[in-house]
Amino acid sequence: MAEERKIQVDEMGLVFGKTMIIFTVLGVLMMVIPAILYFLGIRPYIPLAEVSKYWTGSAAEFWRQVKGFEVHGYGWIFKNLGYMDTLSMLGVLLLMITPLISMLAAVFKAPSLTYRILLLVGAAEFIISLLFKTK
């Protein structure tokens, strides 16, 4: 046990892990709590019965059927945060950006300039990927 304490773990990894656990817990709570309320029928953007009626079609067909438009981008989430199903998606968003936040936190403890650059390049790609919208 004493030897276990002697292992050398990168400070970069420890900060990455600590940041990740905080945001993962937050993300899961933000995803699950509104979803439970949604399953109880409280303030749905798309009622459960509607969802199960059209989920056999592709994502594009589904949205055309239930809302009359196709979804492009994150606007549908942020414009409808008053509804429990879309609020739940905020938790998914937080989970999605958790590795990004963890990478940015780890930059400050990177052991060398090379790792700082690698983490920043990864983070930049992450951000660009998130901003990319499919047409």
Binding site: I7, M31, G57, F62, Y74, W76, P99
Partner: protein, 294 residues
């Protein structure tokens, strides 16, 4: 609502079976769900990706702390996998929306990938403590200090490791990222053999670092979110079911002998891959309908 309950029970079972069999939850969820559930494959892939990333996010902090998940390998692989997983996600959704038979093409490709997973799992060996000699360590690995250590209770001592074949591994990880993004499969089935057999990382390090690398697929979730392909009624029962199931499965794995279960799950995986290919081919009209209801 009934489907959500069935989905919860289904993912709970996958969660239990997964640690016992050594077959990843995501890789079972996606192909089996396309056969069992009425949801379109877009929603299944979106849910599969959220499941894989959430599972990885939950386990990585502890694995990093004890030295098993190697942040240095992650820092190098992440920039490659982020790009390719997003490209995979975009192409996957384009295929289903741009072509009339897009769904069937995806099913055929998914089936082929699952059969490949089956072959990898059948053929790959698990190297507990592979030896990487100093002269085998490549320039990249040496320059970046791609090494680490952890305390191994079974040996009662600290085990140190270093890795080799870094440039080739980068190329392979790029391909894995693409497949993970396109099919929402998670990528442990491919990451672990690459880290273990190609790079020479010990199996425990390979498994833990694979979880860390899976978090680099997180931006692909955005591709599904921006297309509205993530629905709470599918994602939430799936994530909650597999999370609870995995905790039960970890306990069960300590009690029962996993050999039979592993073979059973591999057989299911083969069947799922085969059925996806058949479903796709019959959807395109290449072969007559032999699977009823598909």
């Amino acid at each position: 609502m009934e489907w959500s309950i069935i989905l919860f029970i289904f993912t709970l079972l996958i969660g239990i079976i997964s640690p016992v069999s050594g077959v990843g939850g995501g890789v079972l969820f996606v192909p089996l769900s396309t056969i069992i559930f009425p949801f379109h494959v877009d929603f299944i892939r979106g849910a599969g990706l959220v499941m894989a990333v959430t599972s990885a996010l939950s386990s990585v902090p502890y694995l990093t702390k004890i030295g098993l998940a190697n942040i240095r390998i992650f820092a190098l692989m992440a920039p490659v996998m982020i790009i390719t997983s997003v490209v995979g996600g975009i192409i996957g959704l384009k295929v289903t929306s741009a072509f009339p038979g897009g769904k069937y093409y995806i099913e055929i490709m998914l089936g082929a990938i699952i059969l490949l997973v089956f072959a990898v799992m059948m053929l790959s060996k698990r190297l507990e403590f592979p030896e990487v000699r100093d002269e085998e360590v490549d320039g990249w690995s040496r320059a970046l200090g791609l090494r680490g250590e952890w305390f191994e209770p079974s040996l009662g001592r600290i085990v140190r490791f270093q890795v080799k074949n870094t440039p080739l591994s980068l190329v392979v990880f790029a391909i894995i990222g693409f497949v993970a993004g396109m099919f929402g499969l998670g990528a442990g089935w491919a990451n672990v053999p690459v880290l273990n057999m190609l790079m020479g990382a010990p199996i425990k390090v390979a498994t833990a670092t694979s979880m860390l690398i899976i978090t680099a697929n997180a931006p692909a979730i955005g591709i599904y979110l921006t297309k509205g392909a993530i629905l709470p009624s599918i994602v939430i029962p799936a994530v909650v079911g597999i999370t609870i199931g995995a905790r039960i499965g970890a306990k069960v794995a300590e009690i029962i002998k996993p050999v039979f279960v592993r073979w059973m799950v591999l057989a299911i995986l083969f069947l799922a891959g085969f059925m996806n290919v058949i479903k796709g081919l019959q959807g395109l009209g290449v072969i007559p309908h032999i699977i009823p209801g598909a």
